[in-house]
């Protein structure tokens, strides 16, 4: 365990070095500040993690209720994309052309979030209802 901790610590410090420390004074307030300036990596990371959280939450809720049928997968995709779109276009009001267009921003973390959602949904459903 000690070794792992050491490793992750080292990885974190590496990351901070790579990003020239502009991630370290990272403030939570920036996440909802429309005037903050974003670079592509930061915005991509934030969008990635929002997608993963939404996917995990939706998966757990869908599985616990349980919601059954392919339509709920589509509904998850719509909700998740709507949250992402609402976040960067309405809350942050970034110009999507600076970041490679709507496609690039909406694609961020999409595949990982789909698999995470399916995993959480299937697991909770299988374990909780049989």
């Amino acid at each position: 365990m000690g070794v792992k901790e050491k490793k992750s610590k080292q990885a974190n410090s590496n990351q901070q070095q790579h990003q020239n420390g502009h991630f370290s004074p990272f403030k939570f307030a920036k996440l909802v500040d429309p005037d903050a300036s974003w670079d592509k990596d930061q915005l991509g990371d934030v969008l990635h993690w929002i997608r993963q959280i939404v996917a995990l939450l939706c998966g757990l809720i869908w599985g616990a209720i349980p919601l059954i049928g392919g339509i709920w997968f589509v509904i998850f995709l719509v909700i998740s994309s709507a949250i992402i779109y609402g976040y960067y276009a309405m809350l942050l009001k970034v110009d999507e052309e600076d970041f490679g267009g709507h496609g690039a921003l909406l694609q961020e973390g999409l595949f990982a979030s789909i698999t995470l959602f399916l995993l959480a949904w299937t697991l909770v459903y299988s374990l909780g209802h049989f």
Binding site: A112, T122, S126
Partner: protein, 193 residues
């Protein structure tokens, strides 16, 4: 064994699969860290790519630069940065190849092990009927016509993609965005022309 603790669940095998994939993902990242990420050549390569892609971006979006290439020197400069970026990206993917091979071997061995353990057994129940293309994987090796039965292969696939991607992201091991085009699945960039 974890499955003994959770025997009250009908699909307790799914937890075993998830647990094993989490361990595999951690082992794979540890291997990659040993072979790549801690080396100095990787670090310098990565910072080169980061710098070059940022430079390219500022050059392209510079408002003072005319859109139509009236200034030849500007386009020449962009071309040069682009070529060096492509070269560094290629170096990076070559660099990743050797650890990729080891990781693939580990993943393959774990898959074989799980295959022996859960062959022909439904490890989970899908809450939806997958499309035909996915059915091949989700119903792989299973008897019967109930397509909501989920085989180990599909669950393992879901685990390995979601856990590994997020673990890499969390540890800061994901490939730099500037090098995205040099991955296994090169994406066409409409802006290069």
């Amino acid at each position: 064994m974890a499955s003994n603790v959770f025997t009250q669940f009908k699909y307790s095998d799914s937890l075993t699969v998830v647990g094993i994939s989490i361990c595999t993902a951690i082992v794979c990242e540890a291997i990659s860290w040993l072979l790549i990420y801690r080396t100095n050549s990787y670090k310098s390569l990565k910072s080169t790519i980061d710098k070059a892609s940022k430079k390219l971006e500022t050059m392209k979006t510079d408002p003072t630069a005319p859109k139509i290439s009236a200034k030849k020197s500007k386009t020449k400069k962009i071309d040069r940065v682009e070529t060096s970026l492509k070269e560094s990206s290629r170096d990076l993917s070559l660099f990743k190849f050797k650890s990729g091979a080891v990781v693939a071997l580990v993943l393959f061995a774990v898959f074989g092990f799980l295959n022996n353990l859960f062959e022909g057994k439904a490890v989970a129940k899908l809450p939806f009927v997958p499309i035909k293309l996915v059915q091949k994987m989700s119903h792989r090796g299973l008897q019967g016509e109930d397509f909501t039965d989920c085989s180990m292969a599909f669950l393992y696939f879901l685990c390995s993609i979601s856990i590994r991607t997020n673990l890499q992201k969390f540890l800061g091991f994901s490939p730099p965005r500037g090098a995205a085009g040099a991955g296994l699945f090169p994406m066409p960039d409409p802006k290069t022309n």
